[in-house]
């Protein structure tokens, strides 16, 4: 008798688990899931202004929008995005590995490590739009950096935002500054997890600092390195704010190459997506591009998940 009462009240209590999940799932369904379905739906339609109906109409076009995605222009957008990401990520991972191994090294005993970590993490919290705008103003023709370059003999009329390599490098540099602190902290947490006795054993065996790094630190860090690489790649595909503000949304300067695709050199995938949605109202193309992005990030996330799951075993 007593038993059943107890059981009953426990069941009644666990229903609160469901109740507490309601806000999350209602909001998720309305503002994420339904929009996702809408996005996929629109990828099969053309959305255009009809002169006869004098309004926007949607016409079913099957896979047309997807076929159009497989063009040189889309390839260019992805290429631009990846170039910008790689140019920022390579120095970022190298510097972060170096810093993380220093911070975590007990024998090196870096003083004020907390201060340094706080300083290098700071740019990650700064509004990307303002940070990008700040760099644009500093490097533009009336900016302080330009003035310093002039002092070293650069022409006053030189505008680096008219040139492909400098524009791309600046965007990559901004991303580097914004993210290397974050990566350092993530890697550090991984290095701290390595058993100290491994380092001690290596020291007794007379291993050099570089050997310790290559033979112990790096192999043990592999799962975290993969995690950092892929999450950064997922973030890189979403690159938007910095190139948007630096190039005034244009992605300029224009590419001058054999592709001749009319895609500017610093235009990223998401810049194009935003333009499709709110400026040109090209919902069909926007839908197809979104679905493509969903697939790519989905596959990448799955790789991370598999890797972390394997690590846990």
């Amino acid at each position: 008798m007593n038993e059943t009462v107890k059981k009953h009240s426990k069941l009644g209590r666990d229903k609160w688990g469901y109740i507490f999940l309601i806000p999350f799932f209602v909001v998720f369904l309305v503002f994420s899931f339904y929009p996702l379905i809408q996005t996929i739906y629109f990828s099969f339609f053309d959305h255009y202004f009809s002169q006869t109906d004098f309004d926007y109409v949607n016409e079913y076009v099957g896979l047309k929008n997807y076929k159009e995605l497989f063009s040189a222009g889309t390839a260019r957008l992805f290429f631009n995005t990846m170039i910008l990401w790689v140019m920022g990520f390579v120095p970022q991972i190298l510097v972060s590995l170096l810093l993380a191994s220093w911070f975590a090294n007990n024998r090196l005993r870096i003083r004020a490590a907390g201060f340094f970590k706080a300083v290098i993490y700071l740019p990650n919290l700064i509004m990307a739009i303002a940070f990008g705008m700040m760099f644009f103003t500093m490097f533009s023709r009336s900016g302080p950096v330009h003035q310093i370059f002039e002092y070293f003999g650069m022409s006053k009329d030189y505008d680096l935002f008219f040139h492909i390599a400098p524009t791309r490098s600046l965007i990559a540099f901004i991303n580097f500054i914004m993210w290397f602190g974050n990566t350092t902290i993530l890697l550090m947490a991984g290095i701290m997890g390595i058993n100290e006795s491994l380092f001690e054993a290596a020291e007794v065996d007379g291993a050099s600092q570089f050997q310790v790094f290559r033979k112990i630190t790096l192999p043990i860090l592999k799962p975290i390195l993969v995690y950092v690489l892929i999450t950064s790649l997922i973030g890189g595909i979403q690159m938007y704010d910095v190139p948007e503000v630096v190039t005034k949304g244009s992605g300029m300067p224009m590419n001058k190459d054999i592709f001749s695709t009319n895609v500017p050199a610093a235009e990223t995938v998401i810049m194009r997506l935003a333009q499709y949605i709110s400026k040109s109202k090209n919902y069909g193309a926007a839908g197809a591009l979104s679905v493509m992005l969903l697939f790519i990030t989905g596959i990448l996330s799955f790789v991370v998940y598999k890797f972390m799951a394997k690590d846990e075993e």
């Binding site: 739009i129 995690y227 996330s301």
Partner: protein
């Protein structure tokens, strides 16, 4: 034994010298990288105190005397930055509080109850964590602007933060190690309602984690540009990032550099001030959830 004693001293001397060189290099690199992170903010704040003519004539590392002039220009600008600060603050405060409170509620549901499908719900939330917001932005824009007619409304930028998988994940991690079930059981014996347990017992215990997540949520909303730029378009509804962006395409009147630097300073300063006070727990919060999945 004697063999070992012979080799040890020599080996130690060589080792510590190498370490000293590395230490010197480490400090040089660290100072250089710190300067590389901070110099921009220094130049930004210095230039905010200088006039347009001063800024465009030459670079300076000492403050000028025109901060007040620049501030007045900002107030008189057609770009309403004061309004922008208020708009940004309204959105960032409400969305961060909603995000943190309801993420705690979701985490509590998973942590404290044993209902059917609990594990599946948890895995599901982790799975949707990685979906970029941009992927659903077309449908979101259509829903908000075309279906609901909520262009220039703050709500579509606030309410969705109730479902924040990343915040949920962090808070759940913290709950696992800091919320003993015995405490909840004790409260139940005292006849506490479940919602009351959440608000009166769980919430105070979660404070350290909630504070860090509140800052993260606030900062990400404060800095957000992509969605707000699509939804907020009329002058007095724009948030700071949108206004900063318009400076990039500024008309002649707003091309005044002193004014621009003040505007940019204003949008980064609140975050820097908060960071100065909470840097330690913020940096600590970065690595908590990220790696230990």
């Amino acid at each position: 034994m004697t063999e070992l004693n012979k080799t040890q001293p020599e080996f130690k001397v060589k080792k510590s010298m190498g370490m000293r060189t590395i230490r010197v290099i480490a400090y040089i690199v660290l100072v250089f990288l710190s300067l590389l992170c901070l110099i921009w903010f220094y130049l930004l704040f210095i230039n905010a105190t200088r006039s347009h003519a001063e800024i465009s004539s030459r670079v300076s590392f000492v403050p000028g005397k025109h901060l007040l002039d620049n501030w007045k220009k900002l107030q008189n600008s057609t770009l309403d930055f004061v309004r922008g600060i208020i708009n940004s603050a309204i959105i960032a405060f409400s969305s961060s509080f909603l995000s943190v409170y309801f993420s705690m509620m979701t985490a509590f549901a998973i942590h404290a109850y044993r209902f059917k499908g609990r594990k599946a719900v948890h895995v599901f939330i982790l799975a949707i964590m990685m979906i970029p917001t941009q992927v659903t932005s077309l449908g979101f824009y259509r829903l908000v602007v075309d279906t609901l007619g909520m262009k220039d409304n703050f709500l579509p930028l606030i309410v969705p933060s109730i479902a924040a998988p990343v915040t949920y994940f962090y808070i759940l991690q913290y709950m696992k190690s800091n919320l003993p079930m015995s405490l909840i059981e004790a409260a139940r014996i005292d006849g506490c309602m479940e919602i009351r347990i959440l608000n009166r017992i769980v919430l105070p215990l979660m404070k350290p984690a909630l504070a860090v997540q509140l800052i993260f949520a606030f900062v990400s909303s404060w800095n957000n540009y992509y969605m707000p730029a699509m939804i907020l378009s009329s002058g007095n509804k724009r948030t700071l990032p949108i206004l900063i962006y318009t400076l990039r395409a500024a008309t002649e009147k707003d091309k005044d550099l002193g004014f621009q630097y003040v505007a940019m300073s204003l949008s980064v300063l609140p975050v820097i001030v908060v960071y100065v006070f909470f840097a330690k727990s913020i940096v600590g919060g970065v690595s908590v959830g990220g790696v230990k999945e």
